[in-house]
């Protein structure tokens, strides 16, 4: 296990334990999210990766330890204030029936508004920018229920973009999408990172997509971090065996130069 690198980090977990009821899902976990990078959390089902993301987004309060945002405990900062710095998109969120894409995206402005100052020119411009950046401008007046899976996911990401936060947390943004739509969503996330300098933290199921789009991979098993680092450094056959319980090989994609995992069979302990 590598100790956390001395890169700057606005979002950190320090000895965090996260539980549902009496069951600890994440135990004594410390993590520093590198600023301005795409970090992807991977691991087998039920390893606690989504729970960790919810903890980082202050949707789940730790039973011990602290999540720090800009050096201060995230749970002690006003929730609206946090929402202007850190945006979170849960896994396949449900849109209320009859909401248009533009209305959904406009909701992202919520933390920047209050009851007497609900909407300004700035909000209109930011929402339009978000629609354009996610290629949803032509869908703006359609109902969210009418959209295809990929379009719907783009609309939700547009909402998170309109929230205009430096940090963006996405829980499995590619669930239920076919391969083309998965690439579409991840390219979008990658652009947000590259061109707008957003720090991104994602949970992804697909290890190959994680290798391709992550600067930093965090591999988890049973609520603890097994390895973290650049994909080319940490994704090895040993990691496959440790984290996913799969025997396989790791080769290099000749086009993208990212490591590619070839799963051969289930590992026998």
């Amino acid at each position: 296990m590598t100790p956390s690198l001395p890169t700057p980090s606005r979002l950190r977990a320090e000895h965090v334990t996260l539980s549902y009821g009496t069951r600890d899902v994440v135990t004594d976990l410390s993590l520093a999210i590198p600023d301005g990078k795409v970090t992807v959390i991977v691991g087998a089902n039920a390893c606690g990766k989504s729970t960790l993301l919810r903890g980082l987004a202050r949707l789940l309060a730790p039973t011990s330890g602290t999540v720090l945002l800009d050096g201060k405990s995230i749970s002690e900062q006003p929730s609206r204030h946090v929402a202007r710095t850190l945006g979170m998109l849960p896994q396949s969120p449900l849109a209320p029936e009859g909401i248009t894409v533009r209305d959904l995206v406009a909701r992202g402005r919520h933390p920047h508004q209050n009851w007497w100052q609900q909407w300004g020119d700035e909000d209109t411009v930011i929402v339009d920018d978000a629609l354009r950046a996610t290629d949803t401008l032509e869908l703006a007046d359609r109902d969210v229920d009418e959209l295809s899976g990929g379009q719907r996911q783009r609309a939700w990401i547009a909402m998170a973009v309109a929230q205009n936060t430096d940090l963006l947390l996405l829980d499995e943004p590619t669930t239920y999408l076919d391969i083309a739509h998965q690439l579409e969503v991840l390219e979008l996330v990658s652009t947000l990172n590259r061109e707008h300098g957003r720090t991104v933290v994602m949970v992804l199921h697909d290890l190959n997509l994680a290798c391709r789009y992550a600067h930093h991979i965090v591999a988890m098993r049973d609520g603890v971090i097994v390895a973290e680092g650049a994909p080319a450094e940490i994704v090895t056959p040993e990691l496959l065996r440790d984290v996913f319980r799969v025997e396989g090989a790791v080769v290099v994609d000749p086009v993208t130069a990212a490591p590619v995992v070839l799963a051969h069979r289930i590992a026998v302990d």
Partner: protein, 351 residues
């Protein structure tokens, strides 16, 4: 991304397109409401012409007309407005917060709770206890809040959004109606008769004294609702999404539900449980406004319009006066059935 805009200028800038239709709907409903007020003030045993109505409102003209307009019709119209607005806002709030088109205070038994408490107070007086020991509006408030607390406890669901809450509410409503019926059999005939009329929901023979508590409640709770509306709108989303925007979902839900219960209970204390107004207003407002949430101002105006029109029809269309609750029930019951079967088909989560 843009040049800084001073808060003063930003405040008067137009809202974005998604909400424009709400503004249009509010203005249109307000105009219709004004029209309905004029018609309601004109109609009675003898209809009053517009010119005579205008004079009478200023206390001029024929004495009988002035009496009919100022002493008989005006208090009744005002009562219809405040009761309808209170039911409308209450219904819209609870449907919105619980994300369920059926979850209005009347369906959930809040009205029944308020009714039982009121009849219990009347019964205490009737059976020789201290008459008027508890003012009726306070009894209704207490009854409504107790019923709501019981439902919340029995639902054992922090988000209060499951199907359980509806079943418990309907069961509660039925049980409380039984209690009320029993109380009616125990009290003296005159009080029982008076209570029975009240229980159907009626604006007959009521006046300023009945309207005042509801008006006061609205004066306090409507501004509060409008201040909270911006945040309340976020509650139609999943908790994780709304929390991500910095909304304290649990706390906001409780505050808005308490406002809803108080408004429904106060309206019930003044006019009885006027059936289905709370249920229908919110749904009409949501469709007219073409937004996924229920704007409180719009559902309030819709409620006022429904009660005023229903009461005016109920007192003028037939040779005898009907209680307004009979009319709203005749219209509302089929609508409830429609919602029930539609819900079974879609099973979606809409307010």
């Amino acid at each position: 991304m843009t040049a800084a805009i001073t808060p003063g200028i930003r405040a008067i800038l137009p809202r974005p397109r998604p909400r424009r239709r709400v503004v249009i709907a509010v203005v249109t409903t307000a105009v219709l409401l004004l029209l309905a007020c004029v018609i309601a003030l004109s109609l009675g045993d003898r209809a009053t012409a517009p010119a005579a109505l205008w004079d009478a409102l200023q206390g001029r003209g024929e004495e009988n007309t002035v009496y009919a307009v100022l002493e008989v019709r005006l208090p009744r119209v005002v009562l219809a407005l405040v009761v309808g607005a209170a039911f409308g806002i209450a219904g819209g709030l609870s449907q919105s917060v619980l994300r369920n088109p059926l979850a209005s205070p009347d369906v959930l038994g809040i009205g029944a709770g308020a009714s039982t408490a009121v009849v219990a107070v009347i019964a205490i007086g009737s059976l020789g206890g201290p008459v008027g020991a508890v003012p009726i509006p306070l009894a209704a408030l207490a009854g409504g809040l107790v019923a709501a607390t019981l439902i919340a406890l029995l639902a054992r669901d922090r988000s209060l959004r499951g199907r359980r809450i509806l079943l418990i509410g309907i069961a509660m409503s039925t049980a409380l109606t039984g209690v009320t019926q029993y109380l009616l059999t125990r009290i003296d005939v005159y009080d029982a008769q008076r209570s029975a009329v009240w229980l159907t929901g009626s604006l007959n023979a009521r006046g300023w004294d009945d309207a005042l508590p509801v008006a006061l409640g609205l004066a306090v709770l409507l501004p509060l609702t409008l201040v909270l509306a911006h945040t309340g709108r976020a509650l139609i989303f999943d908790d994780d999404v709304a929390s991500g925007w910095g909304v304290r979902t649990g706390r906001m839900r409780v505050v808005l539900l308490i406002i809803s219960v108080c408004l429904a209970a106060l309206a019930t204390s003044a006019a009885g449980p006027v059936a289905f107004v709370a249920l229908v207003s919110g749904q009409v407002a949501r469709r007219v406004g073409a937004v996924p949430d229920i704007p409180p101002l719009l559902s309030g105006l819709t409620g006022a319009l429904i009660v005023l029109v229903a009461d005016t029809v109920a007192r003028t269309a037939l040779p005898f006066q009907l209680p307004v609750g009979v009319l709203t029930a005749l219209v509302g019951a089929p609508y409830l059935l429609y919602l029930l079967q539609r819900r079974r088909r879609t099973n979606g989560s809409t307010p």
